[in-house]
Symmetry: C2
Subunit: 155 residues, 2 copies
DNA sequence: GTCGCTGCAAAGTCTTTGCAGAGAG
DNA sequence: CTCTCTGCAAAGACTTTGCAGCGAC
């Protein structure tokens, strides 16, 4: 049986995401800037899990005239993470990788050779996690699961 | 990072662990030093997941005469991790936490309020993970799973 | 004795912060 | 206009590395 296709496959439209971001900024008395929009947009258009540095590079290529500083990337990622618009992953190596949290929930299969990350979802595991949290008296908010191995290409 | 081969609850004796460590050192032409033994021992006797810094503190209390440097802690943890004797966890915050890998395999339930970590194992999830890796063409070596929530005490 | 280990301090990474000018509302 | 943002550079936090003496074998 193939990996579960899971719940409904609702892909969030960029416009909705952007609107949500703007609302969030307004609600907190923060300002909507071009840099912030570019960062959100770049995250949205990337299938990769990005490090702050790789995001920075992408943005420098995409909008060199902005000369977006790495500090702004970090500040915006923190902001987005606090707002649950993006999620960070931290693996063995140093540094975190970020991805849009608005995407459908999924877990990660990581190749320890090439560092490639494949996403997947499995309903039975999702369900079981809730049962486990309940039985330990935890109020579960989130989870993350990574499987490490060697991908097809690297074997 | 190999995954545990069994689910039986055999707690490894310190003597065996130490022996294994010595063998490993010998096999690689490395030397068995007091610092290395203290580090292994401290990890063994701790129920906590330790950061390099907290390990260092514990060791300074336990064996102040050694004046073990933080660099040695780092070097030894890397050595132990490469040898699969300890496992590292890296969560959202910066820095890694280490635990003896020789303990039975388990996953982690993390309280986002107090930072407390509870361990658990669930066979059905373990089994499912292997199936998923197979179906994605991955040669699975290890995995880690964390459930985030609010623990009983903090609710 | 030899060669790896150790502590120390210096050097690296990656991330955060202070500041003065720029810009959103 | 006001007050937040931004880029830059400096400062921090956490790790790693170079080195000379020490110690396991």
């Amino acid at each position: 049986m193939p990996i579960s296709t899971n719940f409904s496959t609702k892909t969030i439209e960029y416009d909705n995401l952007l609107e949500e971001f703007k609302q969030l900024l307004k609600k907190n008395g923060l300002k909507f800037t071009i840099q912030r929009e570019v960062i959100l947009n770049t995250l949205y258009n990337s299938d990769e899990h990005l490090t702050p540095e790789s995001l920075h590079h992408l943005i420098q290529d995409k909008a060199p005239e902005l000369k977006t500083g790495i500090a702004t990337i970090y500040r915006t990622l923190s902001l987005l993470e606090d707002s649950n618009l993006v999620t960070s992953l931290s693996f063995g190596a140093q540094g975190k990788k970020y991805e849009l949290g608005a995407k459908d929930h999924h877990d990660h299969m990581i190749c320890t050779e090439c560092g490639d990350i494949t996403e997947f979802v499995d309903d039975s595991i999702e369900k079981r996690q809730h049962e486990i949290a309940d039985s330990l008296g935890f109020k579960m908010n989130d989870h993350s699961m990574q499987i490490y191995g060697i991908c097809k290409n690297c074997q």
